[in-house]
Amino acid sequence: MSALSAVMYREGKIRATNALFIFWDVVYPLGYLLVFGVGMNKALAFTGLSVDYDAFFLAGVLGMAGFGIASNTAWSFFMDRDNGIFYEMLTYPISRAEYLVGKVLFNVAIGLVQAFVTVVLARVALGVPLRPAGFPLLAAAVVVGTAGWFFFYAIFALSIRRNDAFNTVTSIFYFVFLFASSMFYPIDPLPAAFRDVALANPITWHVDVMRFATIGQGDPQRIALEAAGFVVFTTISFGGALHVLQREGN
């Protein structure tokens, strides 16, 4: 068994012991789509949008799901520390990069399942008009997005030794990244300063790519730029997480 599949097997084994946790990862974004999304769609008239809010918000829900799965996966470093297994694992015949990648692979698979369920529900229950040609791009965005946010969070999970401190950091990130982005609303009508922050926010890049992939909304040139930006963000985050992991114990 290769090192990567061994890490993935372990992650799967542990995650499978708590099916509720997996269920929550898959289902809670659906709640957003069906409750928050539908409510917003009905309660408010989004005259600025060329599509229903349901359709607009679909990519936001997919982005939120990947973001949540990534933060939960990074949090599991604390569980590994509490179990004492973290340092033992660092003596296993795997490279630090394989440890990081293997850890996220199983959760990327959950992300793909989550995305599939969300897209099917959006089509069947809400009648969101989807663009099947964009599905490969959507799958790629889910994979890279979940991995990118995991690597980003891993930098903090590995640097911060206290679980409560990490929870505070993730709460701040949730607030800043999710609300200062195109996840819940279009950013063009926003005040200039707010819009500039949102444009510089990798969540915006990630969600915009998925919005383009699902409903075809967005300028292809800008989407390409945002996709490239997110790949760079993921690469830098991976490098940062790897650096922190390699520094462990020194």
């Binding site: 097997y9 179990n83 004492g84 114990g249």
Partner: protein
């Protein structure tokens, strides 16, 4: 001559903390460990044992010097080192949410044991360490002693040529400890190199072919048990049980600057250093202080040597 299992040269590990002077946890160590031997690292708390083990198991990088495991440099080729070692870290390290059997299986998978072999190996190890009745229980439901047992059991699932054990017997009952020690002896006889740290000197006396005593990150002494005992030439352990403890004898013994002195009820255990060969005179003088029920005089134990060597600073012969 084959490469030793472990080769350490001028190894230094310095820890720097902001605003504080740096600490040399390992201070210029040089030693080899022969293949197939059981090598004991002894030392008081903070002597550098765990730091040394962390460097050898690629968990920490040395500040200077060289450390090789089976010829592979721990800094330049850590993955090659990790392919050849299994480690029991000082803290209990188990997958709490997995069953005992799954803990063994997961560990074996990481070390490349073929899936078809894992079940049979796990059953053998479960039987050997009396874990079979708990095989399907989640580790989170087991006591601390059982968790440690699961942790130890993992190294018997694989055939890595080098095994590092950091205070492996913590939390183990004596019967299991004996069983594990027997197993370790068999593994070493089969060619595996075992490197262990412990605070329990009887474990070292019983198990180790080769002993390194560390103090403040430096070598305080090195050799097999008999060689170390030579270092304590002139050190004697005296046990006297009086019918009634003579008054003032504690002060009298303290005046002789014993290495160790313990008085329990009417029994005195004292370790004295006497280079002049006058130990029998001392014993005679003590025995004359009251009616003696039992008297034993012996050479120094490893504990005496350990206390003697580690209470002093710097390198000793």
């Amino acid at each position: 001559m084959p490469e030793p299992a472990i080769r350490v040269r001028d190894l230094v590990k310095r820890y720097s903390r902001r605003g504080q002077p740096s600490v040399r946890a390992i201070d210029g160590l040089t030693f080899d460990v022969a293949r197939g031997s059981i090598f004991g690292l002894l030392g008081p708390n903070g002597a550098g044992k765990t730091t040394l083990l962390r460097i050898l198991s690629t968990l920490a990088r040395p500040t200077a010097g060289e450390a090789r495991v089976l010829g592979h440099d721990v800094t330049a080729a850590p993955l090659d080192v990790r392919r050849r070692i299994s480690v029991v870290v000082q803290e209990t390290a188990v997958e709490l949410f997995l069953t005992v059997r799954d803990n063994l299986g997961t560990f074996a998978r990481f070390h490349g044991v073929p899936t078809r072999e894992i079940r049979a190996r796990a059953q053998r190890v479960l039987d050997d360490l009396e874990l079979a009745p708990e095989a399907h229980r989640k580790v989170m439901d087991l006591s601390g002693g059982f968790r440690r047992r699961v942790q130890i059991a993992k190294v018997f699932m694989v055939e890595t040529p080098v095994v590092f054990l950091d205070e492996f017997s913590t939390g183990m009952d004596p019967i299991l400890k004996r069983r594990v020690m027997d197993k370790l002896r068999r593994e070493a006889a089969g060619g595996r190199t075992i490197v262990l740290t412990t605070q329990i000197l009887s474990e070292v006396e019983e198990l180790c072919d080769d002993i390194l005593i560390l103090n403040r990150g430096r070598q305080a002494a090195r050799g097999d048990l008999q060689t170390l005992k030579l270092l304590s030439h002139g050190v004697y352990e005296i046990t006297i049980t009086f019918e009634r403890l003579p008054p003032g004898i504690e002060e009298e013994l303290a005046a002789r600057h014993p290495i160790r002195l313990a008085i329990t009820q009417n029994t005195i255990d004292v370790t004295l250093k006497d280079d002049d060969g006058g130990i029998l005179d001392v014993v005679g003088a003590l025995a004359a202080r009251g009616r003696v029920l039992r008297l034993e005089v012996g050479g120094a134990s490893l504990e005496d040597i350990f206390v003697e060597l580690t209470k002093e600073r710097g390198e000793l012969p």
